[in-house]
């Protein structure tokens, strides 16, 4: 058919038109694929970071050359049966055939090999290479032990012209956990460098603005963000949400497209602010714009926005319980006497010993503590008399359910449950401030 007749060079140019900066990989893959009826390597392993064009390159090659293929994403296949059935059913639908009346049922690898051969016969694909693309291939390691070796040697097992392409974000060395592997052919997709990123990003220039102008804008964005973020899709997102701000002076008639200095001056502080929320994606572009408008009115807004990001309003006793949990998590149990007993004059003694072997508990992370200790600390710090009502214990459970605490041992109340506090120092400081409690004074690391 015409797909195989086109010389490789043509295909390369047509594919790389849609996916720039990936010519060498495309060339390599195409030469591996060869002619339709030629045998291909049994397995190809393509790896590279997210957004380096793995799936895009392979998909578009398979589509442009009209090769029989099936795409499976391992995330969806929570059991091996799903994987088999997805491949077999996909072969029908992806090749323009109607779905079989009853979807293929396949329980194990043995059946799969048999059914696969049968399907190829059915679809008259004996003389062509069939490609099975498995995305997120690292998941295969967690499935049945025979799946990965079997897929790698599928060509041999099925005795047909089939090529399995595995896509993954991690290196092949990490896949070698069992035995009986046939080594696949490894293709690496390296990260894009700055120029390449620019070339790719510029392709999505909005209408009404010249490519040079947009390139200018992108190089500004990259100059700020490239240090912290090299992920293409993240940069695409950033470029998209910040463009409106950049062109604001032009829209207002204060500057022209060539007035790059002026535009930069207006834009720079804004970008610095945006830098604080890279990767968070907490706002959609429309909301981001709204936030910006507000922040123009009062400069403090974004700063506030950041601190309010983690602010949580809690009931009064929950606050104290959380503080008590924090203290119990980060103070050694020995020090409780020093902090909470009313008559202790062992200050001098303890200080001398502890000077030497003092490791910062905040470096080590929270330690589990039993419920008794939590309650003891709670009663020591809380103001006024609090009856140990069911509501107090209920609050511990609700703190666990919102993941401010976590239960580490003991499933019921009788079996001395243990907890850990999961909040940060800054968070607990802000909670303590609302109840006028100086939490730092009670922390072992800070006395």
């Amino acid at each position: 058919m015409d797909g195989s007749e086109t010389p490789i060079a043509d295909t390369v140019s047509s594919v790389s038109e849609s996916i720039p900066c990936r010519e060498s990989q495309i060339k390599l893959l195409l030469s591996l694929f060869g002619e339709k009826r030629c045998m291909t390597v049994p397995a190809i392993f393509a790896y590279g970071h997210t957004a380096t064009g793995k799936s895009a390159v392979i998909n578009s090659i398979l589509k442009t050359c009209k090769l029989p293929h099936v795409l499976v994403n391992c995330v969806e296949c929570y059991s091996s049966r799903f994987l088999y059935e997805a491949v077999l059913n996909g072969l029908y639908t992806n090749n323009g055939r109607q779905k079989p009346e009853t979807p293929v049922k396949c329980e194990n690898m043995n059946d799969f090999v048999r059914l696969f051969r049968h399907t190829c016969m059915d679809l008259h694909l004996q003389n062509e290479t069939v490609y099975i693309v498995i995305d997120k291939a690292e998941r295969l390691r967690e499935m049945d032990a025979n799946i990965l070796p079997a897929f790698l040697g599928l060509q041999e097992l099925a005795d047909g012209n089939v090529c399995v392409i595995l896509l993954s974000e991690i290196v092949w060395e990490k896949f070698r956990c069992g035995t009986g592997f046939q080594e696949p052919f490894i293709v690496q997709f390296p990260d894009y460098n700055k120029d390449e990123l620019l070339r790719i990003l510029v392709r999505s220039a909005p209408e009404g603005y010249s490519a040079e102008f947009y390139q200018m804008y992108l190089s500004l964005v990259l100059s700020v963000f490239h240090i912290v973020c090299r992920n293409l899709s993240e940069l695409q997102h950033l470029a998209a949400i910040n463009f409106r701000k950049y062109i604001e002076p032009i829209k207002n008639g204060e500057a022209t497209e060539s007035d790059s200095r002026k535009l930069w001056k207006n834009f720079e502080p804004h970008l610095k602010k945006a830098l604080q929320t890279v990767y968070l994606r907490e706002v959609s572009s429309t909301q981001w714009e709204r936030m910006l408008e507000e922040s123009d009115a009062g400069k403090m807004m974004t700063q506030q926005g950041l601190s309010s990001r983690t602010h949580v309003e809690l009931p009064y006793y929950s606050k104290y319980l959380l503080i008590a949990a924090y203290l119990a998590s980060y103070n050694p149990a020995k020090s409780d006497k020093k902090f909470f007993s009313k008559h202790s004059d062992k200050h001098k003694k303890s200080k001398v010993i502890k000077k030497q072997e003092r490791t910062n508990n905040h470096m080590l992370g929270p330690k589990p503590f039993p419920l008794d200790r939590l309650m003891a600390v709670f009663y020591a710090i809380v103001e006024g008399k609090v009856a140990p009502t069911a509501n107090i214990f209920m609050q511990i459970t609700s703190l666990v359910s919102v993941h401010l605490l976590s239960q580490v041992a003991g499933d019921d109340q009788i079996d001395v449950p243990k907890y850990k506090c999961l909040v940060s120092l800054d968070f607990i400081k802000s909670v303590a401030r609302t109840v006028n409690f100086d939490v730092v004074r009670y922390l072992y690391d800070f006395v």
Binding site: F82, Y279, V283, V312, P315, Y316, I392, S401
Partner: protein, 704 residues
């Protein structure tokens, strides 16, 4: 009996007949006056009214945030077309609403179910709600989503044959959903009739209604399940219009704790903040408790207790409302004459139909006795003996409470406005705090009130006028006749304040001159002189005069209307203040109850034999109490044999006490002891330990 016969000697549990409780019988037992029917009717009617009002409030409160969410869900897939995914080569993000709901988790269930119905009404019939407890694996999550979408009753109102019969046999994957959706909403699909029925007539849901998936408690989802689920959904975003709503109790940062960047970059999040639950609580208090519409009221202690539970424990309005409902039920249940707690219109009828016994019951109310003692002696006799006179008096008194309520709340709001801006808030920041003080005592006699009035006498003109303006605007609802002149009075005062500028101008220079003159002296003498000046100079500036007049006006208004309800005769009929009862039911402390039962069993058994000083052990007590009391004397580890000996010593009476029996107690005593110990273990006081043989560990600390 036939079914129970068996070779084995085991015990069999029989499922008894389900006995439905007969309300009549249940109530009759505690009903001395035979008024329970009336009381039940009044309760049910009153609660129905309050409940509908609460529902209205809830929908009002959430309407704004729900509108925003609906708008978001609608707009996020406006340009969606089937097969549109192929045209757009760059993968799209899933539009996601991060809905920050607050930590009052008990309220969330209701909130989300209303959100679901709102979304189904206004956006799309395809709404699925996921709870973390159903979603412990990707498979369960997917099947939960699919079954909710497929078995949606809204979709199959007319053509029943469309229901996919067995969702169990279908493969649970997203591609099933995709093909189902495409079948259903394909434009080329030649079944316009079907489509029409989907829209439900008037509702226009667009050609491709989005599929909204709500996550009720995002924090509790297992991270890997959620990550996988989101990545799966992202793969199909080009083919079906998906919208996510994340219910987040804490803050948006929870999303980042759950999801790595690789997954969170698949989402396009927009944050929505639900109104805080305190706002809802204020609405409930203002519109349910602080209104003359509903005659039932909470007394000061109960009100404070319910507020405390809310503020200190859970922030849950639902629990507050439940508490209110419980208070109502208990009020009508325990108070035999509570059927008089009705609206003014029915009052007269009810009082005249009172039976002699009931009249007697009302007479016994403490507040009425106090009232009678205050009457002239000639009247006293009539009040106590003549039912007819008494009934007339009841009507007058109960009417008085109704009018008192109708006056109270508008004036109380004025007081709150006046004092809310005062530094340090001596009377409290919130209206509910002022109200709680009012319930407790006559507010105008408190020191804090006097302080407030003093401070008000020093406010500047702008502030005072602002306060007046606010008071004026708060008096919008239809006022009772006595207060009908209040708005115009306030208007007149405001008018005078406006005009005062012209008058004052002449006198101001004089004042400044004098103060300049005073500056040279030191602080102490200055104060002294100023005090003297103040005493001597009676003449105040017109503004100050008017200010004093205004404050006096308000003061007398407050003193007249803001009377403490407990000072009114027959207030018990409207006010419920059984603090202990509510506390026992709503803020229970199981631990102290268990300890109480074990250390002084006579408190619950109400037997004479066990009555003793705390700490002493008597053989008449139940075995478990004896074992408990003995274990209190032990240290962390308890030797079972010693414990047994002590137990035997206590249990056996003095006569047949001998060495041999203590050392080798008979089997019955041993069995009794072991039973007591295992009961204690069940209650969590001791547990077996491996640290030492024949020992158990104590799990509690402290003696009796």
């Amino acid at each position: 009996m036939e079914t129970g016969s068996s070779v084995s000697k085991g015990t069999f549990a029989y499922k008894g007949k389900k006995r439905s409780i007969d309300a009549d019988q249940y109530f009759k037992r505690s009903d001395t006056l035979g008024t329970y029917r009336q009381r039940l009717d009044v309760l049910q009617e009153a609660w129905e009214n309050i409940d509908t009002q609460i529902q209205i409030l809830r929908s009002d409160l959430n309407s704004k945030i729900f509108d925003d969410l609906v708008k978001f869900a609608k707009s996020s897939h406006e340009s969606f077309t089937l097969g549109g995914g192929q045209i757009d080569s760059t993968p799209k993000e899933i539009p996601t609403a991060a809905f920050v709901t607050g930590v009052n988790t008990p309220d969330h269930g209701v909130m989300f179910s209303t959100l679901v119905t709102t979304l189904q009404d206004k956006v799309s019939p395809l709404v699925a709600i996921l709870k973390s407890k159903d979603c412990n694996s990707v498979k369960n999550t997917l099947s939960k989503t699919l079954t909710q979408l497929f078995q949606n009753p809204l979709l199959f109102s007319e053509d029943d044959e469309a229901i996919p019969g067995n969702t169990k046999n279908m493969t649970c994957s997203m591609s099933t959903l995709v093909s189902w959706y495409q079948d259903k909403y394909n434009t080329n699909n030649s079944s316009p009739k079907k489509r029409k029925s989907l829209g439900g007539g008037s509702k226009d849901l667009g050609q491709y209604p989005p599929i909204v998936i709500l996550f009720e408690d995002l924090e509790s989802f297992l991270p890997h399940v959620l990550q996988d689920y989101i990545s799966i959904c992202r793969n199909y975003i080009g083919e079906i219009p998906l919208v996510f709503v994340f219910g987040i109790a804490t803050s948006v940062s929870a999303v980042h704790r759950l999801l790595p960047n690789a997954v969170s970059s698949m989402l396009c999040m927009e944050k929505f903040q639900a109104p805080p639950s305190t706002e809802y609580l204020n609405m409930v208090i203002n519109q349910i408790l602080m209104t003359s519409r509903y005659p039932f009221k909470l007394g000061s202690k109960v009100f404070q207790l319910l507020l405390d539970i809310f503020l200190y424990h859970d922030f849950s309005v639902l629990n507050f409302i439940k508490g209110l409902q419980f208070a109502m039920m208990d009020h009508f249940f325990t108070n035999p004459v509570s059927h008089l707690c009705c609206s003014v219109e029915e009052l007269e009828d009810r009082v005249t139909s009172l039976k002699p016994k009931e009249v007697e019951q009302v007479r016994r109310l403490m507040s009425f006795r106090g009232f009678v003692e205050g009457c002239p002696p000639s009247k006293q006799e009539d009040m106590l003996l003549n039912d007819k006179v008494t009934k007339l008096e009841f009507v007058v008194l109960l009417r008085r409470i109704h009018t008192y309520h109708s006056h109270l709340y508008p004036v109380l709001k004025c007081l709150h406005i006046m004092v809310s801006k005062i530094p340090k808030h001596p009377l409290g920041k919130q209206l509910r705090e002022v109200y709680s003080r009012l319930l407790k005592s006559f507010i105008c006699d408190t020191e804090d009130y006097k302080e407030c009035i003093e401070l008000l006498r020093m406010t500047s003109k702008d502030e005072l006028m602002d306060l007046l303006q606010q008071c004026r605007s708060s008096l919008t609802e239809d006022l009772p006749p006595d207060l009908s002149t209040l708005p115009s009075d306030l208007d007149a005062l405001l008018d005078r304040f406006l005009k005062i500028d012209e008058v004052t101008e002449e006198e101001t220079p004089e004042n400044t001159e004098e103060s300049l003159h005073l500056e040279k002296t030191d602080l102490h003498t200055l104060r002294k002189r100023l005090q003297e000046e103040g005493k001597k100079k009676k003449k105040l500036s017109p503004y100050e005069k008017l200010r004093n007049e205004t404050i006096d006006f308000f003061d007398s208004l407050f003193r007249k209307y803001l009377v403490c309800p407990t000072s009114l005769p027959l207030y018990e009929i409207f006010y419920y203040d059984a603090w202990g009862e509510i506390k026992r039911h709503l803020n229970a402390s199981p631990r102290s109850v268990v300890q109480m039962a074990l250390s002084s069993p006579h408190h619950y058994l109400q037997c004479k034999c066990c009555e003793s000083e705390p700490g002493s052990v008597t053989p008449s007590m139940p075995d478990i109490c004896i074992a408990y009391k003995l274990h209190l004397e032990c240290t962390q580890l308890i030797n079972l044999y010693d414990w047994l000996q002590a137990f035997v010593t206590v249990v056996t009476t003095d006569e047949d006490l001998d060495e041999e029996k203590i050392k080798n107690p008979d089997k019955e005593l041993q069995a009794r002891f072991i039973r007591a110990v295992s009961e204690l273990q069940f209650l969590g006081f001791v547990k077996p330990t491996k640290r030492k043989t024949d020992h158990v560990a104590r799990l509690t600390w402290g003696g009796c």
